[in-house]
Amino acid sequence: MTQAEIKLCSLLLQEHFGEIVEKIGVHLIRTGSQPLRVIAHDTGTSLDQVKKALCVLIHHNLVLYRVHKRSVVEYEAQCSRVLRMLRYPRYIYTTKTLYSDTGELIVEELLLNGKMTMSAVVKKVADRLTETMEDGKTMDYAEVSNAFVRLADTHFLQRCPLAPATGSSDPGPPPPAPTLVINEKDMYLVPKLSLIGKGKRRRSSDEDASGEPKAKKTKYTDNKEPIPDDGIYWQVNLDRFHQHFRDQAIVSAVANRMDQTSSEIVRTMLRMSEITTPSSAPFTQPLSSNEIFRSLPVGYNISKQVLDQYLTLLADDPLEFIGKSGDSGGGMYVINLHKALASLATATLESVIQERFGSRCARIFRLVLQKKHLEQKQVEDFAMIPAKEAKDMLYKMLSENFISLQEIPKTPDHAPSRTFYLYTVNVLSAARMLLHRCYKSIANLIERRQFETKENKRLLEKSQRVEAIIASMQATGAEEVQLQEIEEMITAPERQQLETLKRNVNKLDASEIQVDETVFLLESYIESTMKRQ
């Protein structure tokens, strides 16, 4: 873990779970796996608080535990999982676009709570939806559980590893920690539940306590019936989301490079191989052009001939997103996922160079990238940039680690005069460096946002107070004049200051989300490259 990553983890943990959890979490990230007492001792935190913090972290899948020798349980933080907290808004928004509001709330609840049972999720989401609906309307449990099943069927949700049932017949003392087992077969199997009922409004159920809602409430919550899916917890399958993000990125890249129709063909191919191809595979399963033709979305009027032309065109493209793997079935095509990710990562690097150092640097960078190894003199010549400027640019990129230098000595003494100096781009290490910078900038963005809010703490509190008072006055039916009077408690300059703050915070927040997009691309590329090696 680099310092930048640890810093970012610390900020994220603090924002999500408070300072105590942050202290424990960061300690674990720094030191690796540790037993309970050592954590408490090293962080100088009371055992009770350490336990609470660990419970929270384990519940949110941020810490794993393992039983070691002599029954010592060690806890290990999942740094990369902590960093995923940045992407929560994107996960939730993606579900909204795919599965509308119900899906959105299901994923939101699961992300906020770490893991939940299906019945709990359905109940909570139905209640929340009912609260936003008009009076008299309610959300049916069945509808929510249908959405849940759809999400599980498409692998966006998955079961958490199961804790073994504690049989009383077990001889000997119980183990210090349960061993969680995952059954691959049941990963996405939704338990058969008969969830009947409707969402309830918090307010209305209090008002007509004697009415129907009350009766239902007793039926579902107060009655201590054994919950049918007790112990079966669900979590959000982040990998599946990443696969979706990757597919979206590939589709939009194809759309930018060629046209809408070709992107639609690629989208169809990706959708067909969604379930059949594991998310980490470098290629999709081969698909014949006939199959692709049949699977094209209805209403997309292109003839088989046009499709074949498009496929040939895509396969001939130098970016090699699509490859031809055979001629049977009218031509077999695969999507080269690794190559696609590599192209996207390289494009990201190029655009970073362009925005940071200008287009002439970007020209040199692309040149070195294309020719693999170049001597300084060759760079100057090929780029057609005056020698002095070219050198300056080259050295600038070298010092920022975008370009690397390879020495090839002619003699064993490595004398500089008898050595070739070849400039080259190591995409993997450049991507790593850029990723590290992204983490650093997100951490900086968060710190700046916290600073801005802290600076204006008093003003923010005041405006919150005023808003609260106005809301309560409105509820009691105050006059317009009175409300205006209270509103004027915030002066014009204060209002202006608040607006500036809001604009700044919005900008910082939006930047965080968008830098994370780059983080996703780079991480996927690095991960995919590491798997190939």
Partner: protein, 225 residues
């Protein structure tokens, strides 16, 4: 190369012209300070992406940030909880956190709060200590109660009553009482788990008894006035 050495010229092991400096040109100064914290950039950053999805995600992010603070998983430091000034508006902004009981089956056994009762003890002790202060101050009340106490001769019961009455008189004590009640509720919840444990529960029970004895001793002292 060899001719460059000595004679005032910086000695480099390589041909300096190769890196772009002509003969006799002044080399740049050695930099001895760290680069500036906010350096001037040659190129200004491009504006952020805007659009409906970006706006929605921004709203989601800010909403999530507020929501997580209200989740039971957000553990506040004790210092944050107590505010020196009690603000009127606090009542409007109060956050209600749901209880969260982890599924102990999924957690290592050492995670269970064994010492819950012990932890609750010092709190109640201080609460009682705080009670005693004011009760000594208005001694008239105390004397009345002591008389009652003597009549009944049942130390334990009257002691409880003593507390109850004061609770109704002293508004400030309400907070403490609430806290105690919460603790009791928590204890009850945890009891189930603790009965599975070894005799931790019994230990703390005895300690509780000790405390009680100490308290009644104090009361005896008062009675001798």
């Amino acid at each position: 190369m060899a001719a460059n050495k000595g004679r005032g010229r910086a000695a480099y092991t390589f041909n300096i012209e190769a890196v772009g400096f002509s003969r006799g040109e002044k080399l740049p100064d050695v930099v001895l300070k760290p680069p500036p914290l906010f350096p001037d950039t040659d190129y200004k950053p491009v504006p952020l992406k805007t659009g409906e999805d970006e706006d929605y995600m921004l709203a989601l992010k800010q909403e999530l940030r507020e929501t997580v603070k209200r989740m039971p998983y957000f553990i506040e430091t004790p210092a944050e909880k107590q505010d020196d000034i009690e603000r009127y508006s606090k009542r409007y902004m109060k956050v209600y956190k749901e209880e969260w009981i982890p599924d102990w089956r999924r957690l290592p056994r050492e995670m269970m709060p064994r010492k819950k009762c012990k932890k609750a003890d010092p709190k109640s002790k201080t609460a009682k200590a705080a009670d005693r202060g004011p009760s000594l101050a208005n001694s008239a009340d105390v004397l009345k109660k002591i008389e009652e106490l003597e009549k009944r001769g049942d130390g334990e019961k009257s002691d409880e009553e003593n507390e109850e009455k004061e609770g109704s008189q002293k508004k400030t004590k309400d907070g403490d009482d609430d806290g105690d009640d919460d603790d009791d509720a928590e204890q009850e919840e945890y009891d189930e788990e603790e009965q599975e444990e070894e005799n931790d529960y019994i230990n703390s029970y005895f300690e509780d008894g000790d405390d009680f004895g100490a308290d009644s001793d104090d009361n005896m002292d008062e009675a001798t006035y």
